[in-house]
């Protein structure tokens, strides 16, 4: 060993530099050869190549049981997200406590914001005797400590497997005065072994609306001019919900967002910690019953809720994460139709500016091949936008995607000449996508942070445009919806394309003739 240390106070080496120093490289080599008993480099290289092959892809696609790197979470996190969009609402997750730690962590890592929710902390005895006492004590404690305006109850799979009855338990807890009798405690059963986070979102929204609107069908509910809008589980909710409200303002439409997390998930740093902030108020939620219509921005997040709205005599309209020019056109036309007001000139102007931007840059996107993955609605909206840009969506994949969804994607692809090489993969995961990309290469991947492993393996650049984004900061504060949102998405895609071209043309004297100043 030399006396010179790599680490120093002057220039502190971080992990990504420190471990590349020769002393560590030697240590790693020694550990590997003397202690790990791994496979030979040749064998690893051979298998590595095999995982990129058609043969491997066939085996990979023959999988029936194991799921590897899925694009879905479980129901309760979606339910929690939905509940957190209501004013002063504390999610109360009935079941094992570790789940709540996970949901809070996951949402916090994406939004870089505090995330509050409690658990009923059921343990082995509760598994045997049921969690009634946990509900009774839990509601009392949560109410006393965190002073919510509403507690929204959902379940972990543990409580579902043992069959705890939320309705009965909550009534029981109210009888025991855990919370006042008139205190709102909506609930939703959210079994993790059914659907995914988007189904949990649906269940919770329906649970909250049911709490205030009542269960019975009433097609003759008196109506106002208001239009409700349910955004769905959306990692860009902070930017998007604000953009929707701005659009409604331009329109002069009374638009009520049901579950608006935009303020709760974007509180200022001014010395005061706000445990709750903003959100749809209880009064607004009650009033929303009388809206003439409810729009869902994400069909697959609201299957049951929209049916429920219909039963209250509301007109309903559903979208699939509408993005881009025509996606936004359709949304605005629907708003115009439902409100009887024309699309305002200001938005038409924004549209023109967006189209102008696309025209300015279209050469860089035309014919570029993309893989897109994420929730079913996001995939649909993104695919549509790519087609509009002259790009070619090739692999469109969603673990939560159904056969119906696959057909929907196919229809979108079929409507454009740029969709001819595209195919939808419902119920598949990111390990399937790895095979797809190796065997049928694309130029870019659109997804979330988990896609960085695909980028590393396939060397196809990743563009992060959907939840969760853990390793880039603050993008969720900018909208992806509306013409302004489309412009943001466009810029994100273009930036990645330009960075990619620069990175591939930067070797001095070899490739840098194309290292163009002007692109």
């Amino acid at each position: 060993m030399t006396d010179k240390l790599s680490q120093s106070a002057d220039k502190v080496l971080d992990h990504y530099t420190l471990f590349r120093q020769p002393e560590y490289a030697a240590m790693f080599e020694k550990k590997k050869t003397e202690f790990e008993y791994g496979h030979s480099d040749e064998e690893v290289a051979r298998v590595s190549e095999w995982t990129k092959s058609e043969d491997y892809k066939a085996k990979n696609f023959a999988r029936e049981a194991v799921v590897i790197n899925p694009t879905k979470a479980c129901q309760p996190i979606g339910a929690m997200f939905a509940a957190q969009g209501f004013e002063g609402t504390l999610p109360f997750v009935h079941g094992s406590q570790g789940c709540v730690a996970y949901y809070r962590t996951h949402l916090t890592r994406h939004f870089k914001e505090p995330n509050s929710a409690v658990s009923s902390s059921m343990t082995e005895d509760a598994a045997v005797f049921g969690g009634l006492n946990n509900m009774i004590d839990g509601l009392a404690n949560a109410y006393a400590l965190y002073k919510p305006k509403m507690i929204a109850v959902m379940t972990t799979c543990m409580a579902e497997v043992i069959g705890d009855d939320l309705q009965g338990f909550i009534a029981n807890a109210k009888n025991k005065e855990s919370v006042p009798a008139d205190f709102p405690v909506p609930y939703a059963h959210t079994p993790a072994f059914v659907g995914s986070h988007i189904v949990g979102y649906d269940n919770m929204i329906k649970g909250i609306l049911t709490n205030f609107w009542g269960t019975s069908e009433n097609f003759d509910t008196p109506k106002t001019e208001q239009i409700n809008l349910i955004p769905g589980f959306d990692g860009f909710a902070v930017g998007n919900n604000r953009e929707l409200k701005r659009i409604a303002g331009e329109f002069g439409v009374k638009l009520q967002i049901l579950s608006d997390v935009s303020d709760n998930f974007d509180t200022p740093m001014d010395g005061e910690y706000r445990m709750y902030d903003g959100g749809t108020t209880i009064e607004e939620t009650k009033e929303a019953l009388h809206a003439k219509a409810t729009i869902s921005m994400q069909e697959y997040n609201t299957t049951q809720t929209l049916q429920f709205c219909k039963e209250k005599g509301q007109e309903v309209a559903k979208f699939n994460y509408p993005m881009g020019v025509t996606g936004t056109d359709e949304l605005l036309l629907k708003l115009a139709e439902l409100s009887g007001k024309p699309v305002p000139a200001s938005l038409k102007l924004e549209r023109g500016r967006l189209v102008d931007a696309i025209a300015d840059s279209h050469t860089h996107m035309h014919g570029k091949r993309f893989a897109v993955y994420g929730d079913p609605d996001f995939c649909l909206g993104m695919t549509k936008f790519l087609l509009e840009l002259g790009a070619e969506p090739v692999h469109i994949l969603s673990t939560s995607g159904s056969k119906k969804w696959e057909k929907q994607v196919q229809k979108v692809l079929d409507a454009s000449p740029f969709g001819k090489s595209g195919a939808a993969h419902g119920g598949k995961d990111l390990w399937h996508l790895r095979s797809l990309i190796f065997t049928d290469k694309v130029d870019y991947i659109i997804g979330n942070s988990y896609g960085k492993y695909l980028e590393r393996d396939t060397k196809v650049p990743l563009i992060r445009l959907t939840y969760p984004i853990f390793d880039r900061h603050h993008h969720h504060r900018y909208p992806t919806w509306g013409y302004q949102g489309a412009l943001n998405v466009l810029v994100r895609i273009l930036d990645r394309i330009f960075e990619d071209i620069d990175a591939n043309t930067n070797i001095v004297g070899q490739t840098d003739y194309s290292f163009d100043l002007i692109r």
Binding site: M1, L5, S6, S8, A9, V12, L13, D14, H15, L18, F19, M27, F28, K31, F35, E36, Y37, G38, V44, T51, K59, V66, V67, I68, P70, K72, A73, C74, P76, I77, Q97, G98, Y102, T108, P114, N115, A117, V118, S121, T123, E124, A127, D137, A140, N141, A142, L145, M158, V161, A192, F193, M269, D270, G271, Y273, R274, R434, Y450, Y453, D457
Partner: protein
């Protein structure tokens, strides 16, 4: 909540005030977990390792998190199946920064998420058949896998699946260890039981069923690193010091670890334990069964590192003892330079810590080395033996909080106004909103390593950048 202007705080009174907010039954229970450390105390005077109270926002996790997330997950050449619904594996996917070197997806699987993705029919009819299929598919698609663990999620224990039978059958069939772990999330009161269950699974399904490698040649200097998860490379910046003093680290448990390293561990001359909480069980077992002594050490901060190196060297011959002194001397100028640079910027700064495992006590002297002061500390999932080990590090008057609730921690911090809060991701933004510098002390806030001398430089730099960033100065609007 915003910060009060209190500068001197009657901590005992503060505890009582904070408890006032609870309903009576919960107040009595929580009171037993909060205390102010007394002079010459043998322990911290708090109750621990009991159930969290429902509805209070505990920061704890579950047994699955303790087994899959902590102990088993980092073993890189195995595939760990999150057995049950999709969520547990999804949320814990790549969350802990357990660094490893390997070809992910080919001979290592640390940053991947494998699940049996239970559907309703699996709950109703049982999941054993599916588990058979999952293991077959894994073995076909990942032929270089050196072992498979089955990490049970809540439903497994509730629906009566026999994962042990599946493990035995499949292990015989594929000729590789298949290890069932009964770490259902409802077991125990925190992640701690998950650590214990995971340790027991290694005892019963690795030590009992496998042998050390036949060609493994022992030396008198063989040691292991137990209870280091290589977060941000911690085990590496520790290993390098042990190697420098002339020891041979034959196994890392479990950061950057392999199946072979687990199997060869009974060949060690001494097991060196960093995270006592999560791995003392297996060390005690090896002491009883294989007569291998174990020793706790602490590689946070130069004072503890030097002390630990000397204690470790004392177990070996003079050559190792001399080497230890040489290594300490070799790093001393770098340590001095780090302290000279950062101590003036950090001296006297007050810290409140709330984390898990060993850190609520183990990191204390690293802060002291920088002139910083600990005014409160607590554990997520400690047992009494952790609280017995704590007074060695912290001084009289320190506020101690066991399984603190979000409410309590917020109130304590608000009143005590530390200069830095050192806790986890769920706490980070709460305190930053209040205008308080914060460092995540689970993930090292995506930095690290913090272990060893190389890690100390990073630790010192990180504490400085947290506390002395100009952002805190612009928090208040001038209008």
């Amino acid at each position: 909540m915003s910060l009060s202007e209190n500068t001197t705080v009657d901590v005992k009174n503060l505890v009582n005030e904070v408890l006032e907010a609870y309903p009576e039954k919960s107040r009595k229970r929580r009171a037993k977990h909060l205390n102010v450390l007394e002079a010459e105390a043998k322990d911290c005077g708090v109750k621990s390792n009991v159930k969290s109270i429902p509805g209070v926002m505990t920061i704890r996790g579950c047994a699955y998190a303790g087994s899959k997330g902590v102990v088993w997950g980092p073993i890189k050449d195995m595939i760990h199946i999150s057995h049950g619904p999709v969520g547990c594996g999804y949320y814990s996917w790549s969350g802990r920064r357990n660094y490893y070197i390997g070809d992910t997806g080919v001979d290592s699987w640390g940053t991947m998420h494998f699940t049996s993705d239970f559907q309703e029919k699996d709950i109703v009819f049982g999941g054993d058949k599916k588990l058979h299929k999952v293991i077959e598919e894994i073995n076909e698609l990942f032929p270089l896998v050196n072992g498979i663990s089955i990490q049970s999620e809540c439903p497994i224990g509730l629906i009566g699946d026999d994962i042990e039978a599946v493990a035995r059958a499949k292990s015989a069939e594929i000729g590789k260890p298949v290890i069932p772990v009964r770490c259902e999330g409802f077991r125990g009161v925190s992640q701690s039981l998950g650590h214990h269950i995971a340790n027991d699974a290694i005892r019963d399904w690795v030590f009992e069923k496998t042998e050390p490698k036949a060609d493994f040649v022992s030396t008198p200097y063989d040691v292991t690193i137990i209870g280091d998860y290589n977060i941000g490379g911690d085990a590496w910046s520790s290993r390098i010091l042990l190697e420098e003093i002339g020891l041979r680290v034959i196994a890392q448990w479990s950061g950057d670890g392999t199946m072979a390293e687990l199997e060869n561990t009974p060949k060690a001359k001494v097991n060196l334990i960093h995270c006592y909480r999560s791995m003392n069980y297996i060390a005690r077992h090896m002491e009883e069964k294989f007569n291998i002594p174990w020793m706790e050490y602490n590689f946070f901060g130069p004072s503890q590192i030097a002390e630990s190196l000397r204690k470790i060297a004392a177990l070996f011959d003079d050559k190792i003892k001399e080497n230890a002194e040489k290594v300490i001397a070799r790093y001393q100028p770098m340590v001095d330079a780090v302290i000279a640079k950062y101590k003036p910027r950090l001296d006297g700064k007050k810290v409140m810590i709330y984390v898990g495992g060993l850190r609520p006590r183990h990191v204390v002297d690293a802060y002291h080395d920088l002139g910083m002061e600990i005014i409160g500390t607590g554990y997520e999932f400690a047992h009494n033996d952790d609280y017995q080990r704590t007074p060695h590090y912290v001084k009289e008057g320190t506020l101690i909080y066991d399984d603190v609730t979000a409410f309590e921690l917020e109130k304590f911090v608000e009143a005590m106004r530390p200069d830095l809060v050192a806790s986890g991701i769920k706490e980070k933004y709460v305190f930053q909103k209040m205008g308080l510098p914060f460092r995540q002390m689970h993930s090292w806030d995506y930095s690290g390593p913090y272990h060893g001398y190389d890690g100390f430089a990073i630790f010192a730099r990180d504490m400085d950048l947290a506390i002395n960033n100009p952002v805190w100065g612009v928090m208040k609007a001038p209008f």
